[in-house]
Structures are given as structure tokens and as C-alpha cells.
Amino acid sequence: MKLKQQDEDLNVKWAAVAAKNKKWLAQVKGVAEPPLGVWLGPKAKTKKAAAKKTKAAKSRSK
């Protein structure tokens, strides 16, 4: 019974959240999507980290 009530509460919460998001999506309907592929990722961090590692390795080998 408690779980059922919780589920109902979640669904009510979702309905409110979804209604708000729908409004926003309607505003950006015409915005084109970028070409498919990687959009977010740790690439920049990885490159930086790799550069740091190389630098550290070079200084160690001296």
C-alpha cells in the first residue's frame, strides 16, 4: 500500500516536471541537432592528462 502511494506520488511529480519540459522543448523545436557522434566527453581532460603524463615521463628520463 505504501509502495503504491509512493508510485502515485512519483507519477504526479513526473507529470509536473514533464509539463515544464514540454514547454521548453516546444520553444527549441526548430533548433537543428549537431551531426551525430561524440557530443560530451572527457576528451579534453584526457588530452591534457596525457600531455601532463608525457611531460612527467620526459622529465623523469632526463
Binding site: 509512493q6 508510485d7 512519483l10 507519477n11 511529480k13 513526473w14 509536473a16 516536471v17 514533464a18 515544464k20 519540459n21 514540454k22 521548453w24 522543448l25 520553444q27 527549441v28 533548433v31 537543428a32 541537432e33 549537431p34 551531426p35 551525430l36 557522434g37 561524440v38 557530443w39 560530451l40 566527453g41 572527457p42 576528451k43 579534453a44 581532460k45 584526457t46 588530452k47 596525457a50
Partner: protein
């Protein structure tokens, strides 16, 4: 009252399930899209997609899968994986940070819709957990920054004028 890790995991899993089912039914039923948690098989599948990324989805999944509050979503159409995204809420739970996001580059039936579906789900999850902002961390390039800005996100820059992330209120 102490809450066990299993209870926290269960609570947030239910949030994710509501978001997955809600997103499928609300806006995107016509596309026949299925939303689900990311499995190891999904990660292995995505690592085979042709692109120039320098990280692996298996590695990313391993990094975030132990966070019970994570937001991970895979988009599939007829069992074919089309996109993946992983995010985590901040420690205080005030923002949901999306860390990795990728759409399958070739033969994607959701072409043109992937970003909207994922952002709809992410904002839904943020709203469910009480976060007030969604952050897009580590955009791959500046072209993408301008796209995200058109979606209403605001770029946050460091002292060197590099974009660290973009944010938008839920």
C-alpha cells in the same frame, strides 16, 4: 534514520524508471524509442562505433556505475542502440551534471531527435531528484557550444575563456 545503500539505489532506480517510461510515452512514442539503463553490452557495442573519441564507454560505465544517484540512459529503437549518456548529480544534489553523451554516427533512426530526447529525460530526472540546474560538462568543441546555447544553455568559461560547462535551470 539511517538509509542503506540498497535503499538509496532502489529509490533512484525508481526515479530513473519513471523518467524512462515517461519519456517514452510523453513525447517520443511515435519514434518507438526505448529508454533503459546502460548495460556492459551497450558499452561494448558503443565502443565499436566509428569515431575519434579517446575514451571508452566500458571505462566510463565502470567509473560511474557505483554511484546510486547516477543518470545513465541508453536509447534504442527495435533493440538497436542509438545513443548513450551518463551523468551524476552534484554532492549537494542541486545540479545534474552530464559527463558523456554520444549518438551513433551511422544508420541512426533517431537522427535529429537524439539530443532532444536525452535532454528531455535528463531535465526530467533533475526535476525528480530536486536538482535546479542541468550542466553539460566537457563539450567536445566550440561548434557544439553554440548549439547548446540555442537550446537555452548558458556557457560558463574559465579565466582562459575556455568553456568548462554549460548550464540551464530545470
Amino acid at each position: 534514520m539511517n538509509i542503506s545503500l540498497a535503499q538509496v539505489e532502489g529509490k533512484y532506480r525508481r526515479f530513473r524508471e519513471v523518467v524512462y517510461r515517461g519519456t517514452e510515452e510523453e513525447e517520443y512514442a511515435a519514434f518507438g524509442v526505448g529508454l533503459h539503463s546502460i548495460s556492459v553490452n551497450d558499452a561494448l557495442d558503443a565502443d565499436e562505433w566509428p569515431n575519434a573519441k579517446s575514451w571508452s564507454w566500458v571505462q566510463q560505465l565502470r567509473q560511474y556505475c557505483n554511484d546510486p544517484k547516477r543518470f545513465d540512459v541508453g536509447l534504442s529503437v527495435k533493440g538497436r542502440l542509438c545513443a548513450l549518456c551518463i551523468g551524476t548529480p552534484s554532492k549537494a544534489g542541486l545540479s545534474l551534471k552530464l559527463h558523456v553523451l554520444e549518438g551513433k554516427p551511422d544508420g541512426n533512426p533517431l537522427k535529429g531527435q537524439v539530443l532532444k530526447i536525452i535532454l528531455f529525460a535528463a531535465h526530467g530526472y533533475a526535476g525528480m531528484i530536486g536538482a535546479t540546474e542541468v550542466w553539460l560538462c566537457d563539450p567536445i568543441n566550440d561548434d557544439l557550444v553554440s548549439v547548446y546555447e540555442r537550446y537555452g544553455y548558458m556557457a560558463v568559461r574559465d579565466k582562459k575563456n575556455n568553456v568548462t560547462h554549460l548550464k540551464k535551470d530545470t
